[in-house]
């Protein structure tokens, strides 16, 4: 469980995160959604300590991360895995070396054990034929998967993903979302995902935090989001006619009204 308490962060005299509080639960996918520039990345970077918040606390399972010294933070970070918005793979290393790097640095495994673990996680993210390729030689979706593999290779307790599916086609996006969700459940970790992808929100939003200009404007589950009356949220998330229709459909479905085909037809005619 990760707790964010009254977090505040600004650059110069510009406030980017204002008084955000949130509780991210273990074994769930916690989504931070919001328009471009709403402060998702900054919030995530504050949570992992890449940026120092101006005020507020970050608490990892009763450990106050914000009060820790450099050494303690370093210790804490061994339990954190993060996928960056731009993947951030080491471009002087092959895919395999990228994933092996955390093991080389922090484990006492033998060469064989490390290799086995790397093969295992790469298979987990469905990458089996790219071991010896360099990051420049693989596609964006593959890079994201390598990034995920590298983030989970040390079995973290907390997984952060900054826009895991930005710039990917819908199908690959789904594969990656599914992967993140499965990993979360499988290892019972606390996962935090930044996204503005509607599919992700619906598919894996166990808990959703909607950021609007640095404020937490709304919070709830992917069931609740359908019924939300929050105008800013609705304008953001159901932005197109297509999505509004999809929302209406899902709403009916959830209300259990689509019991038979005839009923639905009549309702569609009405609207």
């Amino acid at each position: 469980m990760i707790e964010v308490r009254n977090l505040r962060k600004g650059f110069g005299d510009r406030t980017v995160i204002s008084d955000v509080s949130a509780v991210m639960e273990t074994g769930k996918c916690n989504l931070i959604i919001g328009a471009s520039g709403s402060g998702k990345t900054v919030l995530m970077k504050c949570m992992v300590g890449l940026l120092d918040p101006d005020a507020g606390d970050i608490i990892y399972d009763n450990l106050r991360f914000t009060g820790m010294n450099t050494g303690e933070k370093k210790e804490m970070r061994r339990q954190i895995g993060m996928l960056f918005q731009g993947s951030a793979l080491f471009d002087s290393m092959t895919v395999e070396q990228n994933v092996m790097f955390p093991l080389d640095m922090f484990s006492n495994m033998t060469r064989g054990e490390k290799q086995k673990r790397v093969d295992e996680v790469l298979a987990r993210v469905q990458l089996v034929e790219a071991h010896r390729k360099f990051p420049a030689e693989i596609s964006g979706g593959m890079k994201k998967r390598v990034g995920i593999a590298r983030a989970i290779v040390l079995n973290p307790r907390y997984l952060f993903c900054d826009e895991p599916n930005s710039g990917l086609d819908p199908q690959t996006s789904l594969v990656i979302d599914k992967l993140i969700r499965e990993i979360t459940l499988e290892y019972n970790i606390t996962t935090v995902v930044n996204t503005h992808d509607m599919n992700s929100v619906m598919e894996m939003g166990d808990r959703i935090f909607y950021m609007y200009q640095g404020y937490k404007e709304w919070e709830g589950s992917n069931q609740e989001i359908i019924f939300s009356k929050n105008e800013k949220l609705n304008a953001f998330i159901f932005a197109s006619d297509f999505l509004r229709d999809a929302k209406d459909m899902r709403m009916l479905e959830l209300k259990g009204r689509i019991s038979d085909q005839r009923d639905m037809d009549s309702m569609l005619r009405e609207s």
Binding site: K45, V48, L50, K73, K74, E75, M76, R77, R78, I80, G81, M82, F84, Q85, G86, A88, L89, F90, D91, F101, P102, D104, M105, F106, R150
Partner: protein, 246 residues
């Protein structure tokens, strides 16, 4: 004000480099990698420059030294001393500031901009220690070695040019070469080499590590890194000469 702010964060960066390595083997591997990359990689250019500098010194000194009262072997002495005192350490390091400096600045800049440095930090690695320290140490090991090679190759170039241009034979050159040799000059040159090695690795590392923005800024910062380290090398050259040579 600008200077003090940068100087302050430069000092902080250097101080941040000293922490217990997370894994000694990985640090050692990185150090060796940097030694090869920065040291061996610059061997070619340093040798070429030194040969020509030595050769030109001989020819020009002979041209300027026209008095029949001065023995011709004095030219060898002059070439030896200028190469050891100035050309090998200072000129090589100016060139290395370009070669090594831009490499360090752009490598770190690229890692910063593409969030690779953040990725390392998230793993719980002290990036100043893991990325910057090995580069500085590699330069401190390799650049003095390169300077010694530059001295040898430079003097050899001078000796060769003396013979080739018909100024003096190898025997005459060698006689001058070993006459009144002051060992302290080599010590002085190595002192310079160590100082310059630190300058041309630490300053570009500072610029690269603190890049903000994108590809354009990486280029700008590596240019700035090279210019700043060149000027600093020359400044340090003057200060060291004033302090250590009387």
């Amino acid at each position: 004000m600008y200077f003090f702010r940068h100087f302050g964060s430069f000092i902080l960066m250097i101080r941040g480099m000293f922490s217990r390595p997370e894994n000694y083997r990985m640090y050692w591997k990185e150090l060796m990698h940097q030694c090869v990359e920065l040291g061996i990689g610059s061997l070619g250019i340093v040798s070429i420059i030194s040969v020509f500098i030595g050769a030109v010194s001989t020819v020009q000194t002979a041209y300027q030294l026209v008095s029949p009262l001065v023995p011709i072997s004095t030219i060898a002495q002059i070439v030896r001393d200028t190469v050891i005192l100035e050309f090998a350490p200072t000129l090589s390091c100016i060139v290395l500031a370009g070669v090594v400096g831009s490499k360090i600045a752009s490598e770190l800049g690229n890692m910063r901009v593409s969030e690779q440095i953040d990725a390392l930090e998230i793993m719980g690695i002290n990036t100043r220690a893991y990325l910057i320290m090995p580069k500085i140490v590699a330069c401190l090991i390799m650049i003095p070695l390169l300077v010694v090679i530059a001295m040898t190759v430079g003097i050899w170039g001078g000796r060769f040019a003396g013979q080739a241009a018909g100024i003096m034979s190898y025997e005459v050159f060698d006689r001058g070469l070993f006459k009144d040799f002051i060992a302290y000059n080599v010590t002085f040159a190595l002192t310079k080499a160590y100082t310059f090695a630190f300058i041309i690795s630490a300053i570009p590392a500072y610029y690269g590590y603190h890049v903000r923005g994108g590809a354009l800024e990486i280029g700008q910062s590596s240019t700035r890194a090279v210019v700043t380290s060149c000027v600093t090398v020359l400044l340090a050259d003057y200060i060291l000469a004033a302090l250590l040579l009387d």
